[in-house]
């Protein structure tokens, strides 16, 4: 049972998320997952993880996962609605507050707010990592890919597209 029309639900969900995205799109992935899979039932765990992967590989900011979720739920209108809802308020806020924020660049309270938000955003991105790793680990081989990619990306400066291409090839040949 869906209490509202999908398009309205998409708009409301991403409007509220856009104001909570401290630390960027990667910080609000668990909340997107919670809503899209558990609350609204828009898609399965696997579909969510797939869309996230597509958004990572595609050129452009990570926030495009929002566009993909919107498209999945309500086609073209959904994609446009989701993107506008996610980016609109933030753009407006940046426009309105941006100059004020710049003017107080050296104000102590500004540094306090910024530094105070750091552990919050770190915790959020770590939660994103946990949720995605859980959702993506469907087999032990998939778990190996998660761990191998994490190690390569953590310890080397290699462009992530290389492990991505390798993993996609392994998947295509049926090795994963």
């Amino acid at each position: 049972m869906k209490p509202t029309a999908p398009l309205a639900d998409v708009a409301l969900h991403f409007l509220s998320l856009s104001l909570l995205a401290i630390g960027g799109a990667n910080a609000v992935v668990p909340e997107m997952h919670r809503h899209a899979v558990e609350v609204a039932g828009w898609m399965s765990d696997k579909q969510f993880a797939d869309l996230f992967a597509i958004a990572q590989v595609a050129p452009g900011p990570n926030i495009i996962i929002v566009t993909l979720i919107g498209y999945h739920v309500a086609g073209l209108a959904g994609a446009l609605t989701a993107t506008a809802a996610m980016c609109g308020p933030t753009c407006l806020l940046a426009y309105v507050l941006g100059s004020t924020w710049e003017r107080y660049r050296d104000a102590p309270w500004r540094r306090i707010i910024q530094d105070g938000l750091v552990p919050v955003s770190i915790g959020l991105v770590a939660a994103t990592a946990l949720v995605l790793a859980q959702v993506a680990t469907t087999t032990w081989r998939a778990a190996l890919v998660v761990v191998a990619t994490a190690l390569v990306c953590y310890f080397t400066r290699l462009n992530p597209l290389w492990p991505f291409a390798t993993a996609a090839l392994l998947g295509l040949t049926g090795l994963v």
Partner: protein
């Protein structure tokens, strides 16, 4: 933007095909792995600084959102004021 919508359309149309499932069965865990590395990279400086309270705040948020799957708004409404208040108290 158009490219992304095209990708979304491709996934909806062809996502269930065997070859697409094959590619994604490798790509999806790799994308998750990248975020694990990103999280580790940004957490590293905080852990190195070894201040108990910020680490604790990060850890509590990680558990509340990642493990307990609590609603984001409620968690942030509690965590952000605490974190900012602590930062202010540390550096008067």
């Amino acid at each position: 933007m158009l490219l992304i919508i095209a990708l979304g359309a491709l996934y909806v149309r062809y996502g269930q095909f065997a070859w697409a499932q094959g590619i994604l069965s490798g790509l999806t865990p790799a994308a998750a792995g990248l975020i694990v590395a990103v999280a580790a990279r940004i957490a590293e400086p905080m852990i190195r600084r070894a201040q108990l309270v910020p680490i604790l705040i990060g850890l509590v948020i990680f558990i509340a959102i990642g493990v307990l799957r609590l609603p984001l708004l409620a968690v942030l409404a509690v965590a952000i004021p605490i974190s900012i208040a602590f930062t202010a108290w540390r550096r008067p």
